[in-house]
Symmetry: C2
Subunit: 334 residues, 2 copies
């Protein structure tokens, strides 16, 4: 009998694995193996409720938009944002061509990787370093520079590649949401072109779903060839109130779910919270000094102060990294 | 025997109808019934070649990005851009609240729908009308205003709804490309928020794949509620060299195929043409004075001059609307 039924069982599996609601069917494998506790339960309860076709909270796939901050939400951000380390490395690499930087206290601090001195120069100093490290080349050249760095550079504390300092629980969450027909977007304060070269391989998020801060690019014709050249001029800051503004330009819909870890993500979470119908907000709270870092209200990087209060008030989910995540990073490559 | 094989045949059909390459299988229905001649052949040849998995021109689905201009490419644009008619209608509607407009030669011309006089005021005049008609309200309010207009307004010549002045052959082309795992985007000089409210229903293109020109929006908090308010200030002009720039910000990849109808689309087509590997460029040439409009080199709206020469030089496909399109518009609703 089983022999006769076998093709039909096979058909059943094919049907259930095909089309829009593939992941809402028979699930024998835990979709979030690195999660435990209340935040895990809240995620599963939310996803099941908005994908339950007969239910009161059902949301059609087209509106299942999930937005993720990057630094401190999808990958680590200590001791400083990884993009700043990239900028310092790049300045160091270019130093031979710029002997004048030796006499410049800002640029020589960048060459030494001296974050404290660089910070003293404020936004103006940072922009000067961005101009030196991120502008002047074509978009294609910059993509090559980022790709080479991300493949070779190592984190100063862990010795891991930066793409191995992504959070394993968040990789599972991204996959779980996509399996439930969510469209996943990055909405980062970091540079859009610093993330796009590797975000698809690492997070499964294609370039057109990666948004972030940007500098201006300019169309340049020379004879029969055309390039986009990166200019030393800010185009858009995708942080704080810039996040809902960027979401509006790029996506044109309010997210159904938003994930962040700092006050820079607060407006994105508030914008999502104001959506008509169901919505979901989650803060990753860095509470694990042993396996990662512990920081919140007073931190210069990824400060989470006002957001913690509002999360409590609103009932948003706050992930206690130390207790809610069984693992922090995926296995390192070597 | 057939009886025993039946389940397996069924499985075969399911497998072939499922997943990424669904449309490359058994096709008995003509995917482009309103097309004929060389441009039809070129489209089919191109799509078949980039989706042929063993072939030299194969392009994986993730890179099958197709970008479309809107005005004059997906829908008509005569006697003036439809968004300008919307702006005039809006100004007319607001005139009672602005008695001062009666003494203003620009605004009173807009109220009369007098395009010629308004044109005499140049870009400054246009921006004043945009400010009066497109700014001040929240993004949600503006969406409502556009939605109401698009559902009720009628074209001055055809008497049709504007969404019934989309091109039937282009609707077929959009569907054909998507069935072959292309991701279809609008890249329009028109306003992004003027298109998004109806583009999904009419073209099957969701808001996050609609890009265009935009004005600035501002995050506004009042107590516990948050809105984005539209400001009378330009944010981005998605025309000419703005098109590849916009594509770079929004998509981050060069399109595999690009479709336009005017010199405003030239740089988008050139950017696509410069892609490594195969690519496809198509100009819609308005040659049908009887069923639509005939215009090109000297037209104020949708001028196609330099583009025609470069298309000939580069061998881009130029659609002769009169001969290549069996139908122009879909059936009208009433």
């Amino acid at each position: 009998m089983l022999r006769i039924l076998f093709p039909y069982i096979f058909i059943l599996l094919l049907v259930s694995g095909c089309g829009e609601n593939s992941a809402t069917t028979i699930e024998t494998v835990d979709p979030l193996p690195s999660w435990q506790g209340d935040s895990r339960d809240a995620l599963i309860e939310f996803v099941e409720s908005v994908t339950n076709e007969g239910g009161a909270n059902y949301v059609p796939p087209a509106d299942r938009i999930a937005t993720f901050d990057n630094d401190g939400t999808l990958w680590a951000e200590q001791p400083v944002y990884f993009q700043l380390i990239f900028a310092f490395d790049r300045v160091k690499q270019l130093a031979d061509q710029h002997p004048e930087w030796q006499g410049d206290s800002l640029m020589s601090a960048a060459i030494r990787g001296d974050v404290k001195t660089v910070s003293g120069f404020g936004m103006g100093g940072l922009l000067k370093i961005v101009a030196a490290s991120h502008a002047g080349m074509t978009t294609t050249e910059f993509e090559g520079i980022v790709t080479e760095w991300i493949e070779t550079a190592r984190h100063p504390v862990s010795g891991r590649k930066y793409t191995e300092m992504v959070y394993q629980p968040m990789l599972e969450l991204l996959a779980y949401l996509r399996a439930n027909d969510f469209k996943t977007f990055i909405v980062s304060g970091g540079g859009i072109e610093f993330m796009r070269p590797w975000a698809e391989a690492v997070y499964g998020i294609p370039p057109e779903q990666v948004m972030g801060s940007s500098i201006k690019v300019e169309w340049e014709e020379s004879g029969d060839s055309f390039v986009l050249r990166r200019l030393p001029e800010l185009n858009f800051i995708d942080d704080k109130e810039g996040k809902p503004v960027g979401i509006h330009y790029f996506i044109g819909k309010r997210p159904l779910a938003a994930f962040g870890n700092s006050d820079g993500d607060l407006q994105m979470l508030q914008w999502t919270d104001g959506r008509e119908g169901p919505s979901f907000q989650m803060y990753i709270h860095h509470t694990d000094a042993e396996r990662e870092w512990a920081y919140d209200r007073d931190s210069h990087i990824g400060g989470l102060d006002k957001g913690l209060d509002i999360a409590a008030e609103k009932g948003w989910v706050v992930v206690d990294m130390k207790n809610d995540w069984k693992t922090i990073y995926p296995p390192a490559s070597e």
